[in-house]
Subunit: 277 residues, 4 copies
Amino acid sequence: METVIKIACQDEKGLVHKITGILFQKLLNVTRTNEFVDELTDHFFMRVSFTGTCDLAALRHELFAVLPANATVEIVPPVTKRVVILVTKEHHCLGDLLIRSQFQDLPFEILAVIGNHDTLKPLCAQFQIPFHFVPADGLSREAHEAQVHQLIQSMRPDLIVLAKYMRILTPDFAANYLGKMINIHHSFLPAFVGAKPYQQAFDRGVKIIGATAHFVTDDLDEGPIICQDVTPVNHTYSAKEMARSGKDVEKIVLANALKIVLEDRIFIHQNKTIIFD
Amino acid sequence: METVIKIACQDEKGLVHKITGILFQKLLNVTRTNEFVDELTDHFFMRVSFTGTCDLAALRHELFAVLPANATVEIVPPVTKRVVILVTKEHHCLGDLLIRSQFQDLPFEILAVIGNHDTLKPLCAQFQIPFHFVPADGLSREAHEAQVHQLIQSMRPDLIVLAKYMRILTPDFAANYLGKMINIHHSFLPAFVGAKPYQQAFDRGVKIIGATAHFVTDDLDEGPIICQDVTPVNHTYSAKEMARSGKDVEKIVLANALKIVLEDRIFIHQNKTIIFD
Amino acid sequence: METVIKIACQDEKGLVHKITGILFQKLLNVTRTNEFVDELTDHFFMRVSFTGTCDLAALRHELFAVLPANATVEIVPPVTKRVVILVTKEHHCLGDLLIRSQFQDLPFEILAVIGNHDTLKPLCAQFQIPFHFVPADGLSREAHEAQVHQLIQSMRPDLIVLAKYMRILTPDFAANYLGKMINIHHSFLPAFVGAKPYQQAFDRGVKIIGATAHFVTDDLDEGPIICQDVTPVNHTYSAKEMARSGKDVEKIVLANALKIVLEDRIFIHQNKTIIFD
Amino acid sequence: METVIKIACQDEKGLVHKITGILFQKLLNVTRTNEFVDELTDHFFMRVSFTGTCDLAALRHELFAVLPANATVEIVPPVTKRVVILVTKEHHCLGDLLIRSQFQDLPFEILAVIGNHDTLKPLCAQFQIPFHFVPADGLSREAHEAQVHQLIQSMRPDLIVLAKYMRILTPDFAANYLGKMINIHHSFLPAFVGAKPYQQAFDRGVKIIGATAHFVTDDLDEGPIICQDVTPVNHTYSAKEMARSGKDVEKIVLANALKIVLEDRIFIHQNKTIIFD
């Protein structure tokens, strides 16, 4: 596995030269470099991956020395990311992730699954993944979220995945996990925000349906988009058949988004994402 | 070419048997039959195409005799459809249609092009298609539409195609052409209704953009959808580059929708379309 | 669930009328009818689905009475199909099918999984599906196939699914299961037949890879195609990364093909398939 | 417009640092940089675009000074590329390119069109593009190619586009234009090489058809692939309808490939292409 350096800062001439100079001096075995400058905001983004070892604290120090003020430098060591998954009743995304986890198709470890229903507890048991049932009945939204938040905190995950977690989150809850929580929305956002997107799609008579994986922000369904994909439908599809067909798109889009995030190939900039190959 | 029969009515048992009985009796050379029942509304749709001649008035009469009350029967003789195209300044959809018309890629005749700008007049001249410049400057929306409407009426087209006609239509104008006017909208509806969809798509940071061909109704961007398609984009695309990339989707989606309508393979039912192969 | 009638015969005028006449007389609650005439061979195909009960033997008898000689009539009662899955070492297709089976996403029952390696035995155990290990070591191809065939026969499945079963089949073995055995090939056939299609795709430098689900015939990779899909790749993909990306296409294409076959929406005609919505 | 630097060489540590050092020293306004290392061959590729002026000869000299032996450095000034198009009878790709040229959708100038039939002469006349009719009747393949080659040479184009030029080229002819001649093949290569790919696709019963734009080499249909795309078909498509549907894919794939080449975003490495965003 590789160590990844992610740099973001105001653009200025010579940044690539200066940054690669530091890497060259240390004789790092760089496996890939990517840069992008966002012209609208004149912001610079660079990702470098390398194999081998290196004093990461010193590296960070040297990088900051050549970067403009307010630069952010993230150095991600080659450690498997630890993930908590939140679900409600639908199994298709969770099932797909459990299989991928067990066979190491994706570089992650599932610490636990938290459900506001216990429907998927047996599925988790089949994969020997802890399932925590946190029912919301009789609780205020805030009280329920507090329980979920405490549980998540106790596991210290790197990432939280909402795998068809059908609860509306309060902005306060979401704010705890900015850039660390991924959701899969069952529509081609920004079409059909909110509840029952397949019913909405059916009612509107669209000819293509889709799914969107995005980071969660305090604004429901409005966070930075990571991946989207679509599949054709036609007049013979009921809303239920659209949902069935869409589920396959959902699970693949979520897995693709998760792969990008796990491989640290993504930057969030304002409300958008920059994704390197 | 083929004659097409399009039947729509309340569903009841035995409809296909009765209808095909009439066709069989007349020994028509049926080339394709398609049926569909919309379960929500219990509505029946059937399309039959046949070659050869037949007393169409008698056929219609016999069909009505076996159909429930309030059935609609459309019998479309094998006559090339006559089309008027409305444009503003963008050339890509018009250019594509002019080429397809000249080489008979699609079964239609372009009677004329009407523009609220004269930008595309030379392009029409290259293809020897009449261009009518109807400027809107200094006119109320209604007054301008009245001129356009009068011009259209004088040509008696079967179909009107809005090939990037960038004027908002009044409900009254649209009401003149229900089921006879197709628009291409430069987004994956219902995402990004209204103006500047590519700028909207850029601002939202979507990873896929699209285009939608739909029948025009009195409700802007809300008419029955005929065709949609999409193309991937990423963070390196400016709004302008999204627009450029989207133009290819627009012209192909419009041509595909036009083909379906020209071949009478479409029914409008409530605010949706039923499209047969 | 529905009973399905599948009729195939030489085309002649009036077939739809005669067939629907029988259904109408019996007052069957027809839910969908589809017809297609293959012009090249003048062959007629019809599928009718209906709910409710009916004397199926009598129905078949009456249908044959109005059909041309050599017609085939298949009447499929609403019974869940029983499937045997063959695998080697790869888990992605099997995992996907096990999840779909457990949650009844597809109308089938997995009787057992047979593997020429025992790699996937634990996965089957997690889903409480019997796994039969039939190693090929030291056996002739024919001797190994005889064991597999005997095992399959003992379970009397309706369908056999090769979910990345990486053995070349003898024509004799394949001949036992014509129209009843589905394979997923990891390329966009007919590109890259044979072994290591992803390596072939990598070597050729293609920009899109795909997968193909097809019926197995005695001609390797040449059977009637049911479903295909593709996904883009680029120069940054190694052969291994193409394979990883292709696996998701494979499992979805296989599931889509299986759905079509389980719902009896497919006809095999010569070496092609006719698939109704 | 931008000046583009394309560097390819054996990989070694520090290349990016050294190259960007030269650009930084000259205070060039770099608009985008991309690098890629092909791991199999340990080959390094870098593209830099910049605006503004600079002594290009000196730049080249300085770059070579820091690069390994046998490096190639291409510096492409911001000059519109001059293109010759070869056609036979089909109009769809040519028509699309003529429209794009007239409206400057792509940064190129069409010097002339050469046809082995004169079918498309009137279309070129509509766009005031010279058309050269070079009939092959009664000529050996070599004699015909000699005429075409002489004509091309007289115009000194930067690029030759085979826009459905339906002649098999001799290896000698192709060798004149390595890396400078693009072909659009009407199949999803390597499926259906050679003649009549749509008929082949129809006969095989595929569910998706496609098109491939590639550089021409001395090996027919085997050159480095630039772009590919596909579109779904089904059993209702005749071979002719597949061809009609495929034409839209062909013209868009060709235009996309041409855009990449015109923007100098492509490297040919062995028999593959590296394409930067």
